[in-house]
């Protein structure tokens, strides 16, 4: 099978628990605590995936973590992973340099319903590093812009210094056929943009409540209020998709670490239609 990169896809892995060697081609600092690794398979094979899926990245001798793929399937070059250094594995990945190796298992999980949204308006709501898993979907939407109605991209960050993919957001704002709004919770310096919660932007509308698909990714509390705001605007639960984050370990639904009600986030998610998890979403213990 040919991948969008024009290389032969690697044969399906017989053992999803065995990491595949990938080499770091580039390491890019995004924010004070966030970086992007550009990876390429070291075995010469390809790598096919869908927007919203994730890989398990193994820092040899330290451990393995789930990381969403932040490049688009049709984006030339390497596979991108944008990582916030918050623990020992992510910090170890952050200490690696171009040329170093990592182990990769994947891709795993469900994807954003980009094709299913053809003909609909799109509301894309991202908070913090939640923009990374949505980036491939946004790039796919832009690449086939004529297949969608209005496209509204709403992004919130803690401060202006925490805005992820700032240049790309500015580029998206430059499109005449995209409505892109960025807001921050706190201002720490010169900032001429919005200050306030990102979920408040939903009230501004710009989309057809009956014919919109909403994609949400960010902190769970942000998604909770984002969903409420969408409901208040008349968007039905079955038209809302959320990307859930849980403590994924095996990534194939065996270990149960990421169990969410009767679902496993690694296998049945991370992207869920909201109507499927709506009742679980209200249970704090989950």
């Amino acid at each position: 099978m040919m991948t969008p990169h024009g290389t032969m896809a690697a044969p399906a892995q017989l053992d999803p628990m065995t990491p595949r060697p990938f080499r770091i081609r580039q390491r890019r600092k995004e924010l004070a605590d966030t970086f992007t690794l550009a990876l390429a398979p070291d075995d010469g094979g390809g790598f096919a995936f869908q927007p919203g899926q994730f890989n398990m990245l193994y820092a040899f001798g330290v451990g393995e973590i789930p990381v969403s793929i932040s490049s688009a399937p049709d984006e030339p070059g390497e596979i991108l992973h944008t990582i916030r250094a918050v623990g020992k594995v992510s910090a170890a990945l952050g200490a690696l340099k171009p040329g170093d190796m990592v182990g990769v298992r994947g891709p795993f999980g469900t994807s954003w319903p980009v094709e299913a949204a053809y003909g609909s308006d799109l509301v894309i709501l991202a908070g913090g590093i939640g923009l990374a898993p949505l980036r491939p979907a946004i790039r796919q939407v832009i690449a086939q812009r004529e297949k969608f109605g209005n496209v509204v991209i709403l992004y919130g960050a803690r401060t202006p210094e925490d805005i992820l993919f700032r240049k790309e957001l500015q580029s998206w704002r430059g499109h005449f056929d995209l409505n892109v709004e960025v807001t921050v919770d706190r201002v720490t310096g010169a900032w001429g943009g919005r200050v306030g919660v990102v979920t408040g932007l939903i009230r501004q509308g710009g989309f057809d409540r009956l014919h919109s698909i909403a994609l949400l990714c960010g902190p769970e509390v942000m998604m909770r209020y984002g969903v409420r705001a969408l409901h208040d605007c008349g968007v039905a639960s079955e038209r809302i998709y959320v990307s859930m984050e849980r403590n994924m370990k095996c990534a194939v639904g065996f270990c149960g670490h990421c169990q969410f009600g009767a679902s496993f986030v690694c296998k049945d998610g991370p992207v869920f239609p909201f109507d499927r998890i709506e009742k679980l979403f209200a249970i704090p213990e989950l």
Partner: protein, 160 residues
């Protein structure tokens, strides 16, 4: 078109009050003027008498607090389609923040004392306006509560 016609049209176009009756809009227009503020100009100063209510027709302004020794803190921004100010409704009728134009701002500005007098004389008008202001206040309160959370910090499960 007279100035009053113009004000009535501007009030009717504004999302906060667009569904008021024509009679109520006409009554409100008698308490209003159209104003324009240049970038950097203050609409509201902290601790001064709260005697105005603004409908924002165009532009962006920041709600700010002086927080010595840190300096000025922007709490939130307010935009076209929003309303601004409710301190005139409750004692001690003084503003609790600064509001400054970030861009050119156009408003319909109401004389709050004239509004209160109208409300006393016409309770239905008062009820209709307060109902809408309460909705605006509820949204701001929810937003302020969310803003207090560190929404974008990593969840404990993500510390790997």
């Amino acid at each position: 078109m007279t100035e009053q016609d113009d004000l009535r049209a501007q009030i009717k176009e504004h999302p906060l009050l667009h569904d008021l009756s024509d009679a109520h809009i006409a009554e409100l227009a008698t308490c209003a003027v159209a104003e324009r503020f240049q970038p950097g100009e203050f609409l509201i100063r902290d601790r001064t008498p709260a005697d105005k209510f603004f409908l924002i027709r165009h532009g962006t302004l920041s709600i700010e607090l002086e927080t010595p020794p840190k300096g000025r803190l922007v709490l939130q921004t307010v935009h076209e389609g929003d309303g601004l100010g409710w301190s005139w409704l409750v004692p001690p009728h003084r503003w609790a923040f600064d509001a400054r134009a970030m861009t050119l701002v156009r408003t319909v500005t109401f004389d709050a004392n004239a509004l209160l007098a109208r409300f006393e004389a016409n309770h239905e008008l008062g009820y209709q306006l307060l109902r809408r202001l309460l909705g605006m206040m509820a949204h701001r309160l929810t937003a302020a509560r969310l803003q207090m959370l560190d929404l974008y910090g990593p969840p404990p499960a993500a510390k790997v």
